[in-house]
């Protein structure tokens, strides 16, 4: 179930990245575009729980490490939203995905040519706002006075470490304006459609059977989910 994929990088090279795959060569093959940065950690357990549920209802799914994320040894500060978008379009081909399911800001990376769903999509600016805030709160706690506007100004030129993540200057500038893809092939699954609080809010990673079941039912479509 643990495989690898070759991620294209902007310098024309590739990097070998981890791919968590549940592949039984079934008709529906869903590429998961994970939540980003801090939310990636909080949502990974839920995401894998979802993949196991999809497996039980006859759907294959694939969760790639983006270059610079999770187990990747590629430097994060060299990545950008556009390089990740390119990588996601590429991995979709490598795993012969028939659909995409993005989680939170993963929606910013979705290739337009595959049908699928955005679960609780988040804009780049909101993601950036929360990360900037985490940095200013931590700074204040440490007795340093930092201000979001000044940090942004600096980050646009030189990149910035936000909540422990090395965000490159291009990544930061792209996050400021990035919005989930508006492809007609994609539909939005709002948290209120799933019920209960979004697990990305949690201070610690968590799982939720009921939420996973509801989400899997939507991805499954008309096909019956047997207990």
């Amino acid at each position: 179930m643990i495989a690898t994929w070759q991620a294209p990088l902007q310098n024309g090279k590739t990097s070998e990245e981890l791919l968590f795959a549940i592949d039984r060569e079934r008709a529906k093959r869903v590429l998961i575009l994970p939540a980003l940065f801090d939310e990636a950690n909080k949502m990974r357990r839920f995401t894998v729980q979802l993949m196991r549920r999809l497996d039980s209802v006859g759907i294959d799914s694939f969760l790639p490490d983006l270059p610079g994320s999770n187990e990747s040894t590629t430097p994060l500060e060299q990545q950008s939203l556009s390089s990740w978008q390119m990588a996601c379009a590429d991995v979709a081909k490598q795993v012969s995905a028939t659909h995409i399911l993005s989680i939170r800001a993963g929606a910013l990376l979705a290739p337009d040519n595959l049908p699928g769903w955005h679960y609780a999509p988040q804009t780049g600016s909101k993601l950036l706002r929360a990360m900037l805030r985490a940095r200013t709160i931590a700074a204040r706690e440490a007795g340093r006075d930092e201000n979001s506007d000044q940090l942004l100004e600096l980050g646009r030129r030189e990149g910035l470490v936000l909540a422990g993540w090395q965000i490159g200057d291009l990544m930061l500038r792209e996050l400021e304006t990035a919005k989930p893809s508006k492809s007609e092939l994609h539909s939005v699954i709002a948290q209120k459609d799933i019920g209960g609080p979004g697990l990305w809010l949690r201070a610690e990673p968590d799982e939720d059977d009921a939420q996973v079941k509801t989400l899997a039912t939507i991805v499954c479509g008309e096909e019956e989910i047997s207990e």
Partner: protein, 112 residues
Amino acid sequence: MSTQPASGSVSKSDGAPEQEVSLAQGRAMLDKELKSIIADVLGIDEDQADAFTDDSGLFGHLPELDSMAVAGLLTEMEDRLDIVIEDDDVDGDMLETYGGLLTFAEAKLSEA
């Protein structure tokens, strides 16, 4: 002041009775929503969150509430309470106790 959710028993001796009731109701509703947000962040039941009092410690008291979790909490407050929280709003008093956070949210809402 009580931070218990609407129980119908909120009363204070000063102020005009009618205004007092609507203020108390407003605070009780805000209290309920704020507790619900904190329950979502901490992953606890709303019943447990109901036990929060003005003096209940938050940032610096609960290990789960690190700076990233607090940032998430504030962002969720912005969305659910329809307020904007500026850098300068965020200080120790506001984050240290539940009462501080509630008072802050109340002040923000009255600005709107």
